[in-house]
C-alpha cells in the first residue's frame, strides 16, 4: 500500500510499516503526495511478488497539492491498461480516496483490495499463472 501522507492520522506508524492480520500481509509506505507514485514504483512492487497494490490518495477536491490525487488516478488507469496487455488482472492495482485514516482503517482498505483480487489467485510472479 502506498499512501499519501495526508491519508493517515497516526504518524506514529512512521513512513514505512508492515502489519499482518487475518491472513493478510500489508506493507505500507507513506509518500509525500500520491502524485509522487510513479508507474515504475507500482510495477516493481508487483514484479517483486506482491499480489496487489493499493494507492490511498486524497479526495480529488481535497488534494493538498491540488491535482496530486488526480494524477495518481490517471496513472492507476494507465498501469491497469499495461497489466491487461500482459494478461494480468487490472484489479491488482487500485486507488482509494481518503483523508486522515487510522492505521486500522488503512488495513481495511488493503483488505478490500485483497478481496478484489482473491479470485485471480496469487501473483503469477510466484505461481506462473493468472486464474
Amino acid at each position: 500500500m502506498l499512501y499519501c501522507q495526508h491519508g493517515i492520522r497516526d504518524e506514529a506508524k512512521g513512513s514505512a510499516w508492515s502489519q499482518e492480520a487475518d491472513g493478510l500481509s500489508v506493507r505500507a509506505v507513506m509518500m509525500p503526495c500520491s502524485s509522487k507514485i510513479e508507474v515504475p514504483y507500482v510495477l516493481r512492487i508487483l514484479e517483486s511478488g506482491a499480489d496487489a497494490v493499493e494507492i490511498v490518495a486524497c479526495p480529488e477536491q481535497s488534494c493538498k497539492l491540488l491535482t496530486g490525487s488526480l494524477r495518481a488516478a490517471k496513472r492507476v488507469e494507465y498501469i491497469r491498461d499495461l497489466l491487461k496487455q500482459i494478461g494480468y488482472a487490472p484489479e491488482r492495482v487500485g486507488i482509494s480516496h481518503r483523508l486522515s485514516q487510522k492505521p486500522d482503517e488503512l488495513i481495511e482498505i488493503a483488505g478490500a483490495r485483497a478481496d478484489a483480487v482473491r479470485a485471480f489467485g496469487a501473483n503469477p510472479m510466484k505461481t506462473g499463472e493468472e486464474k
Binding site: 494480468y88 510472479m125 506462473g128
Partner: protein, 223 residues
Amino acid sequence: MIFAEWKPIDELIERLKVHRKVLLVGCATCVAECAAGGEKEVETLAPLLHMGLQKQGYTVEIVTATLEKQCEWEFVEQLAEQAAQVDAMMSIACGIGVQALAERFDPMPVYPGVNTSALTIREEAGLWTARCAACGDCVLGETFGYCPVARCAKSLLNGPCGGTRKNGKCEVNEDVDCVWNLIVERAYERGQIESIGKLKGTKNWSNSGHGGPKRVIREDLRQ
C-alpha cells in the same frame, strides 16, 4: 523531437522469450521527451516484460540502462561492460539508436522496442503533433511557418485539397487543423495573401529519402 511509441507488448515478449538475460536500453533525449524511451519508460517496461515473460513460462532476466544519447558512439560505448553480461539487447530509442547498438555490439541481437514514427512538437502535456517531415527542401519561408509537407494529410504545396471542413479542420481527421487554412489565415493577418497565390514548381525530393540513403560529408569537420 523524434517521436516513437512502444511496440505492442506481445511483440516484445515474442522477441525476448528465447533469451536468458536482456539489456533494455533507453535514451534520455528525444524518446524521453515523448515518454517512450527515457529512464522512466525503461524502468516501466522492464518489470512489465519480466512479468509478461514469467507469466508465459519464460524466465528472462531484464537489466536496464539509459544513455544520455544513443546516437553518439561515445555514449554507446558506456554499455560495453553490461553488454558482455547479456545475450540480447532491446532498445527503446529511435531507429538510429537501435542501429548504433546493433553495429557496436554485433553479432548480439538488438531488437527495437518502439516504432519511430514522426518529428513532433509537444503541444501540451500528453499531446504531440507532427511538425517536420525532414523533406530536405524546406518551404517554411513561403508558407508562413506552417509545414504543408508534414501537416497536410496529402502534403500539398499549392493550397488546400478542397476537403477542408467548414470549421477549418482536415477532412481526414476532425481533430487536426487544415494546415492550408492556417497558412491562408496567417497570410491574411500579415497582408500578404497574394504571396501564396504564386504557383510552386515541382518539389525537389532528392535531398530526402527519395534521393537514396543520406550521406553528408563536411571536410572541415573530418579528421
